[in-house]
């Protein structure tokens, strides 16, 4: 335990030695410190077990709106009795005079036998010198007063009445020195401070943790020789689905899975040749009436593959490596594992390296660089790649294999109509999944809550 004390602590200790039990308010007066300095000083001493803070609760009484009125004008029943002092009065006159308090005051007066009524004349029968409640009203007046200084019986009659009495619970603190503080020697200050004391937290400004993972993945792709392409989040169904050989009546294209923009259609979806060849591929292989109006419907992209295929169709490279990274959308119920909007990374390799084993090799290298070494590949199905695989990575925490990226080689039914002649290896997956592993999160919504508590405290992942 450090025995270095702050000036504030010294002043408080000295004051408490003179006067062993004090409230923070009296300490303020005796030490000439500000309320904030007193608060901090007490807290420091308490943490060092040098001060004892005892809290006590007390009940404070003050008058409510009707109570104040009664303090100023007298209780309603007193006002009634006062009116009758000069002789019997008509019920209707009393009513006019007293307004809406007439009813309750008349009730009380009759119940207590203070008045009597004959036909419609009211007259005094017998008035006590002090009515119930009058003592309390006078005592409180316009001030606050502790409940234990009041005649409880007299108070109770007022507590039942609306807005007469307001009761506040006040917490008061009493500070005293602990035994261990009594032996402390307070030396004159030589400028030293308590270097072991706790200090307040400083909040770091930082990039978003998910953005850090996105940036890390971007860097990895670049070091593997890939260039970044960007594309729109809003896309025509043509590029999001038709160009990728997804038939127009495919369940994935339905409203419950995909976000369609309300009343907005693409004006131009592709070149005449692209449209003709894509529609022919659909008609021939899927055997249905391809409808251009269906292809013109605008959607929020369900994958970044639409950006990739559009880029390929426009550039028709013989040899290339590029990637596309960004938000994609699914019309799902939001839950701890599903978001309507999440980030996807997608990479493609065009050209002579394009073999399935090579695709697997690039995957293995990618995972190695983000720190995942236990992986395996399983066959799977995607509408636009053939052959298709998925990567399974081992999650130590869950103790099981989980699915990460999907991959495959674009089908000729996809590439040929768009004039792409070389094989295209493609793979992709959700970035949030990887980020969840890295930040040890089990609720994907955390990334978009912008909860400052989490953002300010999460350790940066390297």
């Amino acid at each position: 335990m450090s025995q270095v004390f702050h000036e504030i602590e010294k002043k408080i200790i000295l004051s408490l030695r003179d006067n062993p039990k004090q409230s923070p308010e009296t300490l303020e007066k005796s030490t000439q410190l500000s309320p904030d300095q007193i608060r901090r000083g007490i807290e420091w001493l308490r943490l060092k077990d040098l001060a004892i803070v005892t809290e006590s609760k007390s009940s404070i009484i003050r008058l409510g709106k009707n109570g104040i009125e009664s303090f100023q004008k007298g209780l309603p029943e007193r006002r009634l009795l006062n009116l009758l002092k000069t002789g019997p009065k008509k019920l209707s006159d009393l009513q006019k005079e007293l307004g809406f308090v007439f009813g309750p005051s008349m009730g009380l007066a009759r119940k207590n036998n203070w008045v009597e009524a004959s036909s419609d004349q009211i007259s005094i029968k017998n008035i006590p010198s002090e009515l119930p409640g009058e003592k309390t009203i006078k005592l409180i007046g316009e001030n606050k007063i502790s409940k234990d200084k009041i005649d409880i019986d007299d108070l109770t009659t007022l507590l039942k009445r609306p807005d007469f009495i307001i009761e506040d619970i006040i917490t008061s603190k009493e500070i005293s020195l602990s035994d261990s503080s009594k032996s402390i020697k307070l030396t004159e200050s030589s400028g030293e401070i308590d270097v072991e004391a706790k200090v307040p937290e400083t909040f770091v400004a930082r990039t978003h943790p998910l953005k850090d993972t996105i940036d890390e993945i971007r860097e990895i792709f670049v070091t593997l020789g890939f260039s970044e392409i960007l594309g729109n989040m809003t896309q025509s169904s043509f590029w999001n689905f038709d160009a990728l050989f997804t038939p127009q009546d495919h369940p994935a294209r339905e409203l419950q899975d995909t976000f369609y923009l309300d009343k907005i259609n693409a004006k131009k979806i592709g070149t005449a040749e692209q449209i003709r060849k894509v529609s022919e591929s659909h008609k021939k292989n899927w055997r249905y009436q391809w409808d251009i109006s269906e292809a013109k419907k605008m959607v929020l992209r369900t994958h970044t593959t639409c950006v990739t295929i559009k880029h390929l169709a426009e550039n028709k490279p013989d040899e290339a490596r590029f990637f596309s990274l960004g938000r994609v959308f699914r019309n799902e119920k939001v839950s701890y594992k599903h978001l309507v909007e999440f980030n996807q990374i997608e990479g493609v390799v065009v050209g002579k390296d394009a073999s399935l084993r090579n695709l697997m090799g690039i995957q293995r290298e990618f995972y190695k660089r983000i720190g995942i070494t236990k992986i395996k590949f399983w066959p799977t199905f995607f509408p636009y790649t053939e052959p298709s695989l998925q990567t399974m990575v081992y999650n130590e925490k869950l103790g099981k294999w989980i699915e990460l990226f999907g991959m495959g080689i674009f089908r000729p039914e996809v590439t040929k109509p768009l004039g792409i002649t070389k094989p295209v290896l493609a793979w992709g997956g959700g970035i949030e999944r990887i980020a969840m592993l890295k930040y040890d999160l089990d609720d994907v919504r955390e990334f978009y809550n912008n909860n400052l508590g989490w953002l300010r405290s999460t350790t940066k992942c390297q």
Binding site: T234, E341, G453
Partner: protein
Amino acid sequence: MPVVELSYSRLQKLIGKVSKKQIADSLPFLGLDIESENQDLVRIEYSPNRPDYSTDFGIALGLQGLLGIKTGIVKLNVKKSTKYPIIVKSSVSKIRPFVTGIVAKNGKIDDKTIKQLMTMQEDLHFGIGRKRKKSSIGIHDLDKISFPLVYTTTDRDHTFIPLNSEKEIAITEILSKTIVGKDYGPLLGQSSQVPIILDTNQKTVSFPPIINAAVTTVTTKTKNLFVEVTGINKEDAEDMLSVVATILQSAGFYLESVKISGSNNSTPKLEQKKIKVSSSLINQILGLNLTPSKITSSLKKSRLDASSKGSIITCTIPAYRFDIFGSMDLVEEVALGYGIQNLEPTISPSQTIGKINPVSIQLKSLDQTMIGLGFLEALNSSLSSKRVLYEMTNRDSSKIISVLDSKSQEHTILRDSILPGLLENLSRNIHETYPQKMFETGIVFGLDNPVSEKINFSGISAHKDANFTEIKSILQSALKIGFGINIETKTITNPTFEDGHCASVVLDNSQIGIIGKIDSKIIENYKIRVPVVGFEISLSESILKSL
């Protein structure tokens, strides 16, 4: 992806000499994901392109191949028969023109088999049937039917006892009162006539694609089955039939043909097809160097037949493998038969130079600058709500872009501004220590030919002394250090900001955004208890340079 529940012990009986572990280890290499296991029961996810995997019979065929227990094609043995004619009337041609069918005899049907067949039927209806629109199946007790059958149309007041019912009801009632009627009735359109299959005694067999008649219900006592498939496209109907026929044959039934005639209909052929592929394509795509004989044996493990002549492989494909379109599909079949686990990943050195998109580089540099200025980065969804975007912030909502049928009320409108989301973030963090300073860069959307996407940049600062000077100083420094540009501010009024504390952000005489103190009513809307200042500018046209 559809899920099917199987039992290991049943699979073991179907496959032959194999352990439970061998099955569990091999399933993923058929493309089947094990979703969960509970003692003998296993739930498996299969791809919608392989409806034959909707039953344990189909999965057993696949595993036999993969494990080398039985390889090569599963040949359909259909005995030609004239005993089962179906005559098609022309009246169906405009509603549901095609019918096809098959007879399956002498099978044993236990409860589990019935359950498997029903799952298969439902999955076929959903997948290739496109919710029964393209094609649908009826499976019946053959012995309750007198041939020939007629596939024709009938009035909507036609009555019969439907499956799972005891009383005779009219078609109008089936369509308006039963779940299947309500779900699938709309497929029949508005016409007064609906399709019907009647037997020779005018007894109703089926009301496709809605429901079968109760009289032909399949039970554990059923020995012989009649399967009919109806649809709007002949090939789709026959594809569906080929799956059912293959599964029934695997389940131990003997198949006999149904003779179909009339109105462009004909007896199904359920033919195999042949596709040629060169071994060099296979080796190039897989990155292997397999001999033609290794290729053919791999294809056989995938339950296809194959022969080689030189480097050309000729592959025979059964009718139920209609997912095989061309040579690339065969490459995948070779890969599966060869075993994905046997493919060793390789990496060839990159011959390309990677590069980050210039826009990403500039945005990252802006992020770093803002962090230097003490601002924390926030990320919000592009899909937001009318409440956050317009109601809370008093903004003009005349040009909103909304999505159809969102399952989440908080995600219905594409954001046209970032600032409201940041204010919402402050609102959720009122219990956290101040000052709170956040920024976000992201896409905002606008109605324009048909939708424009621009990158905006917004920042906010909330604490008890927050003021205009502070936020202007922040924006000015960020743009000066981040991009080397100088901005000016010009007095304006805006409903989100407080009058007298609001300015437009001007760069080279054009307005690129807005800056100021958020109006106190809006602060109140968000239940924030400290002053908030903020800005939002567009980066796309004026600041970001793209190549």
